[in-house]
Subunit: 397 residues, 2 copies
């Protein structure tokens, strides 16, 4: 299921391949985020043209709207959104903690009111598995508690212990959903489908999540206990929740040595281009992040030398593409000057074009990282990119 | 330049072909509106895939933002927006009257403050021609005064007379811009262009505009005087400005008999599908209208039996396409239920898909009208469509 092709002597960077029901994912991999059943502003066909190999759906958002029964009625999330490549779904836990109102955590699960219309709801490890079975995701995440930042050691310890108990319950429930999983179809829909090849993998992959906040001892304990339960892959959760970058790196460094080599590792909710390369150098294989789509809507484009805010007047007469030699539809056909005009005039085409460019940039960065790992030159590539990469705080605001 | 292929014995409907610098337009034709240098939410490539033969740019909006000098710097509107099919631009007059602040009309022209930042500006027939020469439009409109509805006979008469004097000045100024026009290039840009064939027409076509509000005598006089000046085509202006539908039809019926048969006729700012068919039956060849793009953003889709508001709960579980047998990207790949979810969740893909569908519907309606005129069955087609077409007022709100 997970094949480790090559790893890098000068760093912990790994080049791998993960097989899922709807197709193979080359790692290191970037996963575009399709929160509500759509990667914002982009069509499934465009995602395929960008060569995205997997997308992410947010269970909490889909649970709130349109509701799981609606997606079930359409035959699962792949058919509903007409994307027949792999889908990873989170458990919904993170959004319950960050978005929902009036939440109350018990050993059993989390009671909350959704942020759209306040309807009371309850999610438990078992329910999270049922929902993700109904969605038909290729990769399923256990329900965890994502501790806030900052957080006391005592709270983080108790929380990580509950996350371990929830992980056990998630695994047992996922096994019980196997009937549902097997029913999940990979037949083509009546609508014209995109055409990913069939796969030998006939079940959902289940990933465990390491917690433990910013405490090395808790990260180690959590990693060991989660690995003991045994999953198809391991995520590092509770990162990118507001902590300084060195704490983020520390959390990964404290967890990674205790994860098995033969399973994929996934850093949730990350990151900037330099952060992703640093994480790859620390043995991480998968990333998902809203930055390329979210910043595009604000006029910010990613390039290999840093971010550009295309709203700036300096681009008004610029006849060049966002980035030289970029193969994305925006750079092939449109100038910075035109895209600036579209963003200033609040034309939807402007954010569409920057979104396509940014996704291409993230996907190309991972593609190049894979090539550099294979060539044994990843470390040099990482250092070069990071030293040339300027983050302008104003662009990220 | 304009070839009248066939007309219909049982109605005044005409089937024609209009040659312009950037390509040929089959009439009756629908012109998608690209107000600010972008047909809202749609890319030039998608417009070509929809087989749009011409688009409209709004001179007033482009004058305000990004400014004519910016578009000149990029080599004209075609290159700026990377659309190499025909472009029609209006004179800017209509938006000065409907959008700008503090306007003052004199014989010389119109002083106004733009609606974006209040900058004072002045537009005259001569300036309108210079601007449209700089934009490089294939079809240029004279500057006119669009009288409001309702409007007194005396005001309408004086206004139409001034519009006639402005039409003469527009024609003279357009002739003087010929050097500029000749400089306008149809070479391919460095960016990958869409690939319309070259044309033998090497100048901008200039259309006159008939005014006269809702008064038959004024419409007749205006048509006669504008035709006397002599233009490449004739528009009927001052319609779709809030008047009842019978007044709109009356204005066309009072103008059309005085327009030459061998020139295209264009009803500005129209209309609903039934209105366009009624106008075709009254001898009109060209239409532009924001309804397909504007209503899409509100979740309203056009079908041959009327409009559908896809926000309605009745579509939540609907596995069918917006319209059976529609060849648009939305109907080929997505269900009503999914598109409804996207619109309810305010996902940009939702309005993109409905926009593509609505433009396809308008373009297909014209395509079918052309085929029916050629087959001599247009009148039956028009009556059938109109009797089956239900407009739900709530969808248009």
């Amino acid at each position: 299921m997970f094949e480790l092709i090559t790893s890098n002597l000068s760093s912990r960077a790994r080049r791998g391949r993960l097989a899922t029901t709807h197709g193979v994912i080359d790692t290191p991999a970037f996963i575009p985020v399709g929160t509500q059943g759509s990667v914002k502003a982009v069509s499934p066909r465009e995602l395929r043209e960008l060569k995205a190999q997997i997308i992410l759906g947010n269970t909490y958002h889909l649970f709130v709207r349109p509701g799981i029964n609606v997606i079930k009625h359409f035959g699962g999330l792949h058919r509903f959104m007409n994307w027949d490549g792999p889908i990873l779904t989170d458990s919904g836990g993170y959004q319950v903690f960050s978005l929902a109102k009036l939440r109350r955590i018990t050993e059993e699960g989390v009671h909350f009111q959704n942020h759209v219309d306040g309807t009371p709801a309850f999610i438990s490890p078992e329910i999270a598995m049922e929902i993700q079975a109904a969605l038909g995701s290729d990769i399923v995440m256990v329900l965890d508690e994502c501790a806030p930042y900052p957080c006391e050691h005592e709270y983080a310890a108790r929380s990580a212990e509950m996350t371990t108990r929830w992980a056990k319950r998630s695994k047992a429930a996922n096994a019980q959903c196997s009937t549902l999983n097997a029913q999940r179809s990979t037949e083509k829909t009546e609508l014209s489908a995109i055409g990913y090849p069939p796969s030998a993998i006939k079940r959902q992959l289940l990933f465990g999540i390491v917690q433990g906040a910013t405490f090395d001892d808790l990260r180690k304990q959590s990693a060991q206990k989660i690995v003991e339960i045994g999953f198809d892959g391991y995520a590092i959760g509770g990162v990118s929740v507001g902590e300084p970058e060195e704490e983020m790196m520390g959390a990964v460094e404290a967890s990674e040595p205790f994860l098995p080599n033969d399973k994929p590792r996934y850093a949730m909710g990350l990151g900037t281009p330099p952060q992703m390369l640093e994480m790859i150098a620390r043995g991480i294989d998968m990333f998902d992040c809203v930055l390329p789509t979210r910043l595009a809507r604000n006029g910010t484009a990613f390039t290999s030398t840093g971010t550009l805010n295309l709203k700036n007047a300096q681009f008004a007469l610029d006849k060049g593409p966002i980035e030289q030699d970029c193969a994305c539809p925006a750079c092939r056909e449109f100038t910075r000057g035109y895209i600036r005009h579209l963003i200033k005039a609040e034309e939807i085409l402007g954010l569409r074009l920057i979104t396509l460019h940014n996704l291409q940039f993230y996907l190309d960065l991972m593609k190049q990282a894979r090539a550099e790992i294979e060539a044994g030159t990843f470390d040099e590539f990482r250092k070069n990119l990071i030293s040339n990469y300027k983050t302008r705080e104003v662009d990220l605001a």
